[in-house]
């Protein structure tokens, strides 16, 4: 079996919930040895719905099972001296420590960066938090919807005349987790060249605000403030309902649309009209155009129009449900979804490699660990025998 890109990289993982665990999943799935350190009650991510067969249980959260593949788990109470002592032993030969506590927590545990660096100068300490480790909002509270609001994506998201929206699920957390993996790998590259570790941080708010295309530039370039777009703008590339679902038409970019080609393709002679045949006219008659397009598309079928469009190299898109995307012939042909055997729950089909590395591939080798599954094994390597473990358990360190 070829080895992952991060074979031999040792990561101590204090993360919980989604953002941090997604970062360390990316590392673990590419070969890093990720040791997940959970509080004795377990990562709160173990309570994330949905659950396997809808049974709420800390070993059955589907997001948790996805986010923690290829990791090992030990429990450790970092509020005890003995717990912190064990953590420091584990950090002595580690490459990276990853955490997503609120910024005040690590220093309050005596785990500030200066202390960690003195202990292991090569250690990369990687943190992700809602608003970063500095600034007047450092200790503000946030959830997913608050990050969408304060990151600037929400204001431009949704219907013109309704309340702004957020994406479904936990996009802000995943986005920040991806960025945390990148930041950590950049620092790890420097460490491999120089032996020097460092502190790196990702802000969830800034993860969103970094990815807004020209929204702030609209203001700095012209003084205009972008908002959510009205439904009928003359824009040809909005989501349209078809008889069996939704498509995203895209006949070409902006000014370069050849109107007659579009009229022919849609078999819609009613569009062969000077009110619509150039961009300025389309803006002028946007509402009438939108109504006609809605009617035309309502009679089409999703797959049929998608493939017909691509024959002409129009970049149409489909909007697929979870069921449809899993059955999509392209995604099937790529072997994206991967079955994995879980010792208690049986086979589960997971989303697979986000990207393919030809010489150091993504691999799913081990299911997410049970809470504390590797405590005895890992502490055994640190020299704790059965009696020592019993003592730690009795004093609620593990």
């Amino acid at each position: 079996m070829p080895s992952g890109a991060l074979a031999g990289v040792k990561v101590i993982d204090l993360t919980h919930h989604i953002a941090g665990p997604y970062a360390t999943k990316l590392l673990a799935d590419f070969g890093a040895d990720v040791l997940k350190i959970e509080r004795p009650a377990g990562d709160p991510g173990r309570r994330l719905p949905p659950f396997h067969n809808d049974e709420p249980h800390h070993e059955k959260s589907l997001p948790f099972l996805y986010l923690n593949t290829n990791k090992r788990s030990i429990t450790l109470n970092l509020k005890t001296d003995a717990g912190r002592g064990i953590l420091m032993d584990l950090l002595a030969d580690a490459d990276a420590l990853v955490e997503n506590f609120a910024p005040r927590v690590m220093p309050s545990l005596g785990l500030d960066y200066a202390t960690l660096r003195a202990h292991n100068p090569g250690l990369v300490v990687a943190s992700v938090s809602n608003f970063g480790r500095s600034g007047p909002w450092r200790d503000y509270r946030a959830t997913e919807i608050v990050e969408y609001a304060l990151g600037g994506l929400m204001y431009i998201f949704g219907a013109y005349d309704r309340e702004p929206l957020k994406h479904a699920l936990h996009q802000a957390q995943f986005k920040a987790g991806t960025n945390l993996a990148s930041a950590l790998l950049l620092a790890l590259y420097h460490q491999r060249l120089t032996g020097q570790g460092q502190q790196v941080e990702v802000s969830i708010q800034e993860s969103i605000a970094s990815a807004l295309r020209d929204v702030t530039n609209n203001y700095t370039y012209t003084g205009a403030v972008r908002r959510r777009q009205p439904n009928h703008t003359g824009d040809l590339t909005r989501v349209r309902a078809v008889s069996d679902g939704y498509v995203l038409p895209n006949p070409g970019l902006g000014a370069s649309v050849d109107w007659q080609v579009l009229v022919d393709f849609l078999e819609a002679p009613e569009l062969d009209d000077p009110r619509f045949d150039n961009p300025s006219a389309r803006l002028e008659n946007a509402e009438a155009l939108g109504d006609i397009l809605d009617q035309i598309f309502a009679a089409k079928q999703k797959q049929e129009i998608f493939y017909a469009a691509h024959q002409k190299r129009f970049i149409y898109g489909v909007i697929d449900s979870p069921e449809e995307t899993i059955d999509n012939p392209q995604i099937q042909a790529r072997g994206y979804y991967v079955p994995l055997h879980h010792p208690q729950l049986g086979e589960i089909t997971f989303p697979g490699a986000p990207f393919l590395l030809s010489d150091s591939p993504w691999q799913l080798n081990a299911a997410a660990p049970a809470l504390g599954e590797h405590t005895a094994e890992v502490l055994g390597q640190l020299g704790y025998d059965a009696a020592g473990l019993g003592q730690l358990r009795a004093s609620e360190v593990i």
Binding site: Y155, F157, H167, A168, I315
Partner: protein, 450 residues
């Protein structure tokens, strides 16, 4: 020491966002990025969203999107449809660490730029191809946009108001999802090369990167056979939870009440002790069963309040709340400003553009910070530096390439997009408003001289 990637050279054949945004961030961290374009094919990011909405003169050097995605890069024009252009690219590949592109596989093959060809030139090259649906498979050559892959990946289907169809963000959101994963992918490959001396081919499917971030919905189907309904802004475990109107035109606040304690705090801040005492709202289960009623009551109260003042009051009571920030709120935000998130970049004097703030990046590497930002290149700005300085081409050779339009400094068929006037854009609803003294406001806030 600035940037951990000093000494890494990247050749980028990118367009729009997916590859350019990723290579921009690697450039921020010290890599030398050589951005290819051509005078034959003008990228749409050079033709739209222009400074002052002016299409005269060298408008292609004043496009907001081009500046946004291409800082800290060197610009080289090259016509790859001809042998002479491809010969220059081969010489660049020979001294590059990474070749990054986001065209369809058909284009890559037509130009003879597959990984197997590149490794003949540079055995340890890392090549990254970023496509909508993946480099192989029946859809490999289907062009895609961010919204198309947001649809294919399952994310768009889940998103929207509970009483309506799928809704997408107004930006090509998944282009960034792919770009963010591409940074990680390239770093993994660079680390692997450090260990083994070997390069490799990276195949980024934008659809796959997006699906990797919606496991809750995908696993609910594969395991439980359930498709979750669109939920708008509501949350199955919190109430109140949503986006509520505030005083002013199109002003809003997001509030997430994630505990009974937060609920009591909310009632206190809103001055509604009657809500706090009402047993129908005492715990999360009862609040969830009165969700619509609570949302209406809360909206009635928030409507009287300024969204930033209300956020501050709620946050000081420990409640997760955020003003829904528009672009001006972001640029003038005290928190982002104190962290130096927006960086002022000076433009080339030929553009006539003043220094302007740009979003930087989502991370800070405290030991190896980003390099000082340089603006995106003018078209062909570094042709000579690269051809003479890096590749040792003579003046005569460069002149020959110029005469044949293999390289150049201006598009052969310039066509800029003039947007409607700002008054018209506001009337159409594309823009919420515009300000006429914005330039002075930005100068004051960012300490930029006249």
């Amino acid at each position: 020491m600035a940037g951990p990637l000093q000494g890494i050279r990247i050749v980028e054949m990118g367009q729009l966002i997916a590859i350019p945004s990723a290579m921009k961030w690697l450039g921020d961290m010290g890599a030398q990025v050589i951005r290819l374009e051509s005078v034959q094919r003008l990228e749409s990011y050079r033709t739209d969203s222009l400074y002052h909405n002016e299409v005269d003169g060298d408008f292609w050097n004043r496009g907001a999107n081009f500046y946004e995605q291409n800082r800290n890069k060197l610009g080289l024009t090259l016509d790859l449809s001809r042998d002479e252009g491809r010969a220059v690219l081969r010489d660049l590949i020979a001294i590059a660490d990474v070749f990054a592109e986001n065209f369809t596989p058909r284009v890559v093959r037509n130009f003879g730029l597959e990984y197997d060809s590149l490794r003949q030139i540079r055995p340890d090259i890392i090549m990254v191809s970023s496509t909508g649906y993946g480099f192989d498979g029946p859809w490999a050559n289907f062009g895609a946009t961010g919204p198309a892959t947001e649809g294919a990946a399952g994310l768009a289907y889940m998103t929207g108001y509970p009483d309506g169809g799928p809704v997408m963000s107004e930006i090509p959101y998944t282009d960034y999802t792919a770009g963010e994963h591409t940074v990680a992918a390239v770093m993994l490959a660079l680390l692997h090369r450090l260990n083994t001396g070997r390069g490799q081919f990276i195949d980024v499917s934008q659809t796959q990167t997006c699906s990797a971030t919606v496991p809750e919905a995908l696993l609910d189907w594969t395991v439980n056979g359930r498709i979750q309904p669109r939920q708008g802004n509501s949350n199955p475990a919190m109430s109140p939870h949503g986006c509520y109107p505030c005083a002013g035109d199109d002003r809003w606040i997001a509030i997430a009440v994630d505990s009974d304690q937060a609920w009591q705090g909310l009632c206190r801040v809103m001055g509604r002790s009657d809500w706090a005492a009402d047993r129908r709202y005492a715990d999360v289960i009862s609040r969830l069963s009165h969700r619509d009623e609570l949302d209406r009551m809360l909206a009635f109260e928030t409507r009287q309040r300024d969204n930033h003042e209300l956020m501050a009051a709620l946050q000081s009571s420990g409640i997760a709340a955020g003003a829904v920030m528009d672009s001006k709120d972001l640029l003038f935000n005290e928190h982002l400003r104190s962290r130096g998130f927006y960086e002022v970049i000076e433009h080339h004097p030929d553009t006539g553009m003043p220094p302007l703030p740009y979003a930087s990046r989502p991370w800070k590497l405290h030991g190896t910070p980003a390099v000082a930002p340089q603006p995106a290149p003018l078209m062909g700005q570094h042709n000579r530096d690269i051809l003479a300085g890096l590749l040792g081409r003579t003046d005569g050779e460069i002149e020959t390439l110029t005469a044949a339009n293999i390289i150049g400094f201006a598009p052969l068929t310039p066509r800029g997009v003039r947007r409607p006037s700002l008054d018209e854009q506001v009337r159409q609803g594309r823009m919420q408003r515009y300000e006429t003294d914005y330039a002075a406001q930005i100068r004051r806030e960012y300490g930029i001289g006249e």
